[in-house]
């Protein structure tokens, strides 16, 4: 039998049982006989580490990753460069094997790193306060809406149709029990939220206006105009954004957002099939006590020395129970630590440069594609690192051709927007080279020729 992680020898067990005063472990099991499992679990027997490595290596080879193929996929998860130092720090036992820092004297490392993370995020977003992370961008946004309901009375949210469709679905799930309505703001021909519609539908029952910037199509929303409309009625202005874009684009605090959230993956976390996410959550300081999740504060110890500690725990479920601001307990601390190390590694100039590279690359590629016959750019709004292309050939056929050439093509928008059949969303990060983009363009051109 394979028990690499259980240390007791037969002698140890005997001694322990003697001390307890029983003859066997069986005597310690207080489960009623009628519900005891008396047969073996129907699972395979254990295997050795060598066998496991072999099996996982085999399974890993049944995947094709973005290291094997060139990827132009975006839509919320991005293939950005991660400096080696990030993984080295995050794989230190002292960071990845402790629990939540409830005992500050023996958790100053985690606490100070979270405090630094909160500062970095506040600075980057130009917001007053940040928590220590949520599960992902989508649940961060849903919790922002729930927080808005605690702050302001009303009966509905106005939500941009250009919000990530999966975030929209999660928002629906989270808001359903409350009975609060959601009205979608359509997009204009420019590919951004229709401000006339928004103005039309605003009233003082609107709890919040929710937008994404850059939006799901990569377009830059008219964030300042939306702010004026939302605040005119006293509604909360809630923004979901791409943190990396803030290296060059105006951050939510500059356009007066009340709550700003984001998916943090692009800051130093591998894409991991969308399974290495974390949610960024920031707000104005007057809402601090309404925030969900953990928050670290600066403090002093008995000797007056600076230290850090979890604060405002009276908001949280382990104290407030059914009246807590959220049910969240476990968050995504280690992913947030990676973002912290990433941002420190990039520094002021590095992040600006990355954002600029994304913009330059994406603008290069868009121009090349839209100059090909059969490919059109449907939206005219300025964009960051993603853009939409309308195709005359079906997206499945295009992406199949690209796959054969070892390229993951754009995201088929018809999957989320029935009216955008034959539209592809391309994403270009700083990792894409001119050669890779030119290869994509050349294949796209050939597909056209084949028709």
């Amino acid at each position: 039998m394979n028990l690499p992680y259980i240390p007791h020898t037969e002698e140890d067990k005997k001694r322990m049982l003697e001390e307890i005063g029983v003859k066997s472990i069986e005597e310690l099991i207080t489960v009623p006989e009628e519900i005891r499992l008396r047969s073996d679990l129907n699972l395979p027997s254990g295997i050795s580490e060598m066998e496991l490595r072999k099996e996982l290596r085999k399974l890993s080879r049944q995947n094709i990753s973005m290291e094997d193929y060139v990827s132009f996929l975006g839509g919320g998860i991005y293939d950005h460069f991660i400096p080696a130092v990030v993984e080295h720090i995050a794989s230190r036992s002292e960071f990845y094997t402790p629990y939540t820092p409830y005992q500050p004297e023996v958790s100053q490392g985690t606490l100070q790193a979270i405090f630094e993370y909160q500062t970095l995020i506040c600075n980057l977003f130009r917001m007053d306060v940040s928590n220590a992370s949520m599960y992902d961008g989508a649940t961060s946004l849903a919790e922002a809406a729930l927080m808005a309901c605690r702050i302001r009375k009303g009966d509905k949210f106005l939500v941009a149709k250009t919000l990530h469709p999966e975030y929209y679905k999660v928002l629906l799930t989270y808001l359903k029990p409350s009975g609060i309505k959601i009205l979608q703001i359509p997009y204009s021909e420019e590919g951004i939220s229709d401000l006339n519609f928004l103005k039309d539908k605003m009233d003082d029952k609107v709890i919040g206006v929710i937008i994404q910037n850059p939006n799901f199509f990569g377009c830059i929303e008219k964030t300042e105009d939306i702010e004026k409309i939302a605040h005119k009625y006293g509604s909360l202005y809630i923004v979901s954004c791409d943190p990396l874009s803030l290296g060059t684009l105006s951050p939510p605090g500059e356009y007066n957002a009340d709550i700003a959230v984001a998916e943090g993956q692009s800051l130093g976390n591998p894409p991991y099939l969308g399974g290495g996410c974390f949610g960024i959550f920031t707000s104005r300081k007057e809402f601090l006590r309404q925030m969900p999740g953990r928050i670290v504060g600066e403090a002093q110890d008995k000797e007056g020395k600076r230290g850090f500690v979890l604060i405002l725990q009276t908001r949280e479920q382990h104290i407030k129970r059914e009246r807590a601001t959220s049910n969240i307990c476990t968050n995504q601390a280690l992913n947030a630590l990676k973002a912290c190390v990433y941002l420190c590694s990039m520094g002021e100039e590095g992040l600006k440069k990355i954002a600029m590279l994304c913009m330059k690359n994406s603008h290069y590629l868009k121009e090349k594609i839209e100059n090909l016959p059969g490919y059109l750019s449907p939206f005219s709004a300025p964009f960051f690192k993603e853009f939409v292309i309308k195709t005359s050939t079906s997206p499945e056929k295009i992406n199949q051709k690209l796959l054969e050439a070892k390229i993951f093509g754009g995201l088929d928008l018809g999957r989320f927007y029935p009216e955008l059949k034959n539209h592809l969303l391309f994403c270009v990060t700083e990792k894409r080279t001119k050669e890779e983009m030119d290869r994509l363009v050349s294949i796209l051109g050939d597909i056209k020729d084949e028709r």
């Binding site: 259980i6 500062t119 099939l273 941002l343």
Partner: protein, 485 residues
């Protein structure tokens, strides 16, 4: 240990920790494409440091942490077992890390196999019929489940808005219930620390959607009446939910699906050895019986003759509870753990966890007597009530003094129904020598309390900081660093 400055206090303009490639496409005047009103007007506020400085900073910070890899960490209800290293190594293979969620499913069949098989193994361990791996944490699994229960009854056109929760439950249970729009009814514990059946009878009616039970409960006791509790709830048309936080006591011994549980969550970061990461990520899969399968969040992972696929065609589903498919990295680690242990190893896990908890209980229960006595399962709850009453020493003081013995404190002041609670979960991965050192430390502390109780108020003595003034930190919250003017 020296004070470690904040990274911002080490920043010096012009320093760099990263080398980036230049632009190879020429595209001048980006401002031409982006209106200036959309461009950033203020500095980013990121520090400028070199890579060696950066590394030294974070390594020094890390050294201020206690963790499972350095210390015994008997935190009750958290299952701080050893995190096997092979799991970390294999979960970081590039063909797992660098997958995009919108790639064609034909290009990630390997990882879908892992997800599918992990679900199957959890189904077998729990006796449930289908598992969703999507929830990101235990509390997220609870919320997902409560939303499913809501959808189930709405579908049946039954109006049920009450949830019964024992007073010993984790705080997430009532918080998740109210987030899902339910009213929480608290059920008392009896003198043995189990659900008070009379109080339960009084509160079960046809407005009860479900009872949320933690088994074993937070006192570390198996709810011996659970078959009866299930029958009572089911007879009124309600459902039984199991909070799987304490599943480390049950693997291979009994299966929730066999004692009446209809829906439950697992904590892969507890029972299945994935690291806690200083607070996360975790993973809180949900398992359900047949009748609740239609309500699972989308997508589910299915298999047909051409391979694995993601199924979104589920009209009764509660929808999406997060973006994409789950905390995949955590699931890969749990898969590795399940494969290494296999059916026999898994059974030994729970038995040895129970052995260790009872050994500690037996050696310490006369010194730190709890109102709930007797054999426990994978964790034991002791109390410092007598120490407080006789010597003015609280559970908090004992916890802090344990740090001086290089031991991470147990959970304190929980469960709420035990005054001055010390909740100890040793797990199966700690040797007898480690358990003995812990027992000796607590016996030594008991002696100190007799002889010099006030000395405990000074503990801990050798940590980077001493006790923190939390009152002030909460009254005047400073949640970010700001440059002194």
């Amino acid at each position: 240990m020296n004070d470690e400055k904040l990274i911002f206090e080490k920043s010096k303009k012009g320093r760099k920790a990263v080398s980036l490639s230049g632009v190879d496409v020429e595209r001048k005047d980006i401002e031409k494409f982006i209106p200036s009103s959309s461009l950033r007007k203020t500095p980013l506020g990121l520090p400028e440091v070199t890579e060696p400085d950066l590394v030294r900073h974070f390594v020094r910070l890390s050294q201020k942490n206690m963790c499972v890899d350095t210390n015994f960490y008997p935190l009750g209800s958290c299952t701080m077992k050893y995190n096997p290293k092979v799991n970390e190594t294999l979960a970081s293979l590039p063909e797992f890390c660098n997958l995009h969620p919108y790639q064609p499913t034909s290009t990630f069949q390997g990882i879908l196999h892992i997800l599918y098989e992990t679900g199957k193994m959890l189904e077998e361990i729990s006796g449930m019929d289908k598992v969703s791996l999507q929830p990101a944490a235990g509390a997220h699994g609870e919320l997902t489940s409560m939303l499913m229960i809501r959808a189930f009854f709405e579908d049946k056109k039954e109006k049920r808005d009450k949830i019964l929760i024992p007073d010993s439950a984790h705080g997430t249970n009532p918080a998740s219930s109210s987030l899902a729009g339910f009213k929480v009814i608290k059920i008392n514990s009896n003198q043995e620390g189990e659900v008070d059946l009379n109080h339960l009878y009084k509160n079960v009616d046809d407005e009860v959607a479900c009872i949320m039970l933690t088994v074993p409960n937070t006192l570390g006791l198996f709810e011996r009446n659970i078959p009866d509790i299930s029958r009572i709830i089911h007879s009124k048309g309600g459902l039984v939910y199991l909070d799987g936080a304490n599943l480390n006591a049950l693997v291979g011994i009994t299966r929730p699906g066999d004692f009446g549980v209809d829906i439950m969550h697992f904590n892969l970061h507890k029972t299945f050895s994935t690291p806690h990461g200083g607070g996360g990520p975790g993973s809180g899969p949900v398992g359900v019986k047949e009748k609740l399968i239609p309500y699972l969040p989308v997508p589910t992972i299915e298999k047909n003759e051409s391979g694995y696929y993601l199924d979104y065609q589920r009209p009764k589903s509660i929808g999406k509870v997060r973006s994409f498919y789950g905390n995949i990295e955590v699931v890969v680690k749990a898969f590795c753990y399940l494969k290494i242990l296999g059916k026999d190893g898994l059974k030994e896990v729970s038995k040895n966890a129970i052995l260790a908890a009872n050994y500690i209980r037996k050696k310490l229960e006369n010194h730190y007597p709890s109102p709930y006595k007797g054999i426990c399962m994978h964790e034991c709850v002791l109390s410092a009530k007598n120490k407080r009453e006789e010597k003015g020493v609280r559970a908090l003081d004992i916890a802090k003094r344990l740090i001086d013995f290089n031991i991470h404190p147990p959970t304190i002041y929980f469960p709420l129904i035990v005054e001055e609670a010390l909740m100890i979960e040793p797990t199966e991965t700690e040797s007898k020598e480690t358990l003995d050192a812990f027992i000796d430390a607590l016996l030594q502390i008991a002696k100190e309390i007799e002889e010099n109780p006030s000395s405990l108020k000074e503990a801990p003595h050798f940590t980077p900081v001493s006790r923190i003034d939390e009152i002030k930190a909460n009254r005047f919250p400073r949640v970010k660093w700001e440059k002194k003017m």
